[in-house]
Amino acid sequence: MAQNPKPRSIIESLGEEIVRIITPVSICMFSVVILVSILNNSESSSASITSVATIAYSEDSSDSFWDKFEGALLNSLVFVAVVTVVTFILVLLFYLRCTSFLKYYMGFSAFLVLGFMGGEIGLFLNQYFSVPVDCVTFLLVLFNFTVVGVLAVFMSKMAIFVTQGYLVVIGMLVAYWFTLLPEWTTWMLLVAMSLYDLAAVLLPGGPLRLLVELAMARDEDIPALVYEARPVLASDLSPRENVIPRRLWREPRSGDSTLNENMTTRSNVVPNVNAVSRLESSQTVGSIVNAEEGQGSRGISELTAPLIEHRINVQMHLAQQAVETENLVLEGIGLGSSGAIKLGLGDFIFYSVLVGRAAMYDFMTVYACYLAIIAGLGITLVLLAFYQKALPALPVSVLLGVLFYLLTRLLLEVFVVQCSVNLIMF
C-alpha cells in the first residue's frame, strides 16, 4: 500500500520555480557580460551603428553633457514611439486573427537573429581567437544551428531544454546588439522602455493590456517568444494519462474558482489531448523590440532587415499553497498540472543589456546591477502575488539597476578604490 507522500513544502515548490526562472536570466546576463568583455575591448567606442534607435541623434564623445542628454532622450523617445506603433499593429493583427502570419514572422525573426547575428558574433569570436576553422564546417554548423533554432521556436513540442536554450541564445544575441549602441542612448532607452512597459500594461488603453484581454477572451495563445520554465511536478506523480499541457498562456483564475476549475478539461489550440490547467494568476503583457540592422559606414544603402520580436512580459503565476494541496488530493486520479513561471524574452534582453552596459565600465557595476535586477525580479514576483493583476517585469528591475549603476559608479567606486589603494579592503 502506498503511503501518502509528504506534501512538498513551499520552499521546494515555490523556491524551485523561482530558481528555474532566475537561472536562465542569470545565464543570459553572464554570457552577455562575457561577450561584451571579450569583444568590445578591441573596438573603439566610437564605432556607431545606424539603427532605428539612433536616427534622431548619433552620439559623439566630444559633445557636452546636455547635448548628449537631449540626444539620448530624443533617440529613446523615437524608439518608444516605434515600439508603440508596432505593438498596436500587433494587437490589430491578433484581433483580426492573423495568428499564422504572426507565427511565421516570429520564426523569420528568430532565423535572422540566429543566422545573421549569431553568425556575425561567431565570426567576431573567430577573428579574435584566430580559430582555424574552415568555411565549410563553419557554414554547415551555423546552418544547422539556425534551422534547429527556428524549429525550436516554432514547434511547441520540441524538447524543453532545447527550446529554453535557444530562447536564451536569442536573448543573448539581441542584447549584445543593443550594447553596441552609444552609451547615453542605451541608458535612456532602458529607462524609457521600462516606463513604456509600465504604461502599456497598467493603463486601460495600453496595447499590452488590450492584447492580454483579447487573448484571455479567446482563450488562445499569443504567438510570442516567451521563456517558460519547466513546471515543478510533485515527485510522486505516477500514472498520468494526459499529457501535461505546455500552453504558452493560460487564463487567470481568481481565488475560489481555482479549486473547482482544476478538474475541468478543455481542448485548446495547442495539440494536447486534454488540457487541465491549474492557473493562479497569469497575466501577459507584451511589447515589441524593433531593431534594424544597417550598414552606415560602408556607404551602401541601408540593409534594413526589420527584426521584430514579440515578447510577452511578466507572465508569471505563483503556486498557491491551497491549490497545491488540492492537486495532491487529485494525484490518485492523475489530473491536475502545475503552472510554471513564464518570462518574456524582452525582459531577458533588457536585463542583459543593462548588465552588458555595466560591464563596459567595470565589473563592480556588473555585480551591483546583477543584484539589483535579481532583487527587482523578486520584488515583482511578490507584487504579483499581492496584487493578482497584470504587472510588468521591466520597471522595478531596470530602474533599480540604473540606480545601482549610478550609485556604484559615482560613489561606491571611489570608496572601494581608495580602500584598496590604502590596503584596507580589497
Binding site: I49, F116, M117, G119, E120, L123, F124, N126, Q127, S130, V131, P132, V133, D134, C135, V136, T137, F138, L140, F143, N144, F145, V147, V148, L151, K157, M158, A159, I160, F161, V162, W177, L180, R230, P231, L233, L237, S238, P239, R240, E241, N242, V243, I244, R246, P271, V273, E293, Q295, S297, R298, L303, I333, G334
Partner: protein
C-alpha cells in the same frame, strides 16, 4: 509485466482516448517516449515528430538527427519499447554519429594539417580570411 505494457502500447496507438480508462483500470504506469516525460509528447503524437526529424536530417541537417535522439532518449535506452518509433530513432543515431565522424575528421584534418597539407588553399578556406575577403563582419 511485458504483456500489459504491450497492450497499453497497442491501446495508445489505436485509440488514444480509451487509454485513459485502460490505464486507470489497469493501474499501469504509462511509458513516455520523450525525455520530458509527462510534459512531452504522447506516444501517438511522437511518430510524426520522429519520422519528420529523420527525413529532414538528410537536408544537410545532422543536428536534427541529434535533437531527435535527445528528444526520444527513453526510446533509445529501452531496447524493447515503442516498436513504431524505435527504427527512426536508431537510424537517426547512426546517421548522426556517422556524419559527426566525417565532419569532425575533416575539421581536425584542416586544423592539424594547416598549410603543410593544403598549401595556399588553406588560407583561402579558413574562415577568418573568407570573412575578410567578403566583408562579412561589416554588417553590425
Amino acid at each position: 509485466m511485458e504483456r500489459p505494457r504491450e497492450v497499453e502500447v497497442e491501446n495508445n496507438n489505436n485509440n488514444p482516448s480509451s487509454s485513459a480508462s485502460a490505464l486507470i483500470g489497469g493501474g499501469v504506469r504509462q511509458q513516455w517516449p520523450t525525455i520530458d516525460g509527462p510534459l512531452g509528447l504522447s506516444e501517438s503524437d511522437s511518430l510524426w515528430y520522429a519520422r519528420n526529424f529523420f527525413i529532414f536530417g538528410f537536408f544537410l541537417l545532422p543536428l536534427l538527427w541529434g535533437v531527435n535522439c535527445y528528444l526520444f532518449w527513453p526510446v533509445l535506452r529501452r531496447s524493447t519499447s515503442f516498436p513504431h518509433l524505435r527504427p527512426y530513432i536508431v537510424r537517426s543515431a547512426i546517421a548522426f554519429s556517422v556524419f559527426t565522424a566525417i565532419l569532425g575528421s575533416w575539421a581536425i584534418t584542416f586544423i592539424v594539417g594547416g598549410e603543410r597539407l593544403f598549401g595556399h588553399t588553406w588560407d583561402e578556406l579558413v574562415m577568418y580570411n573568407v570573412a575578410d575577403k567578403y566583408g562579412l563582419t561589416g554588417w553590425i
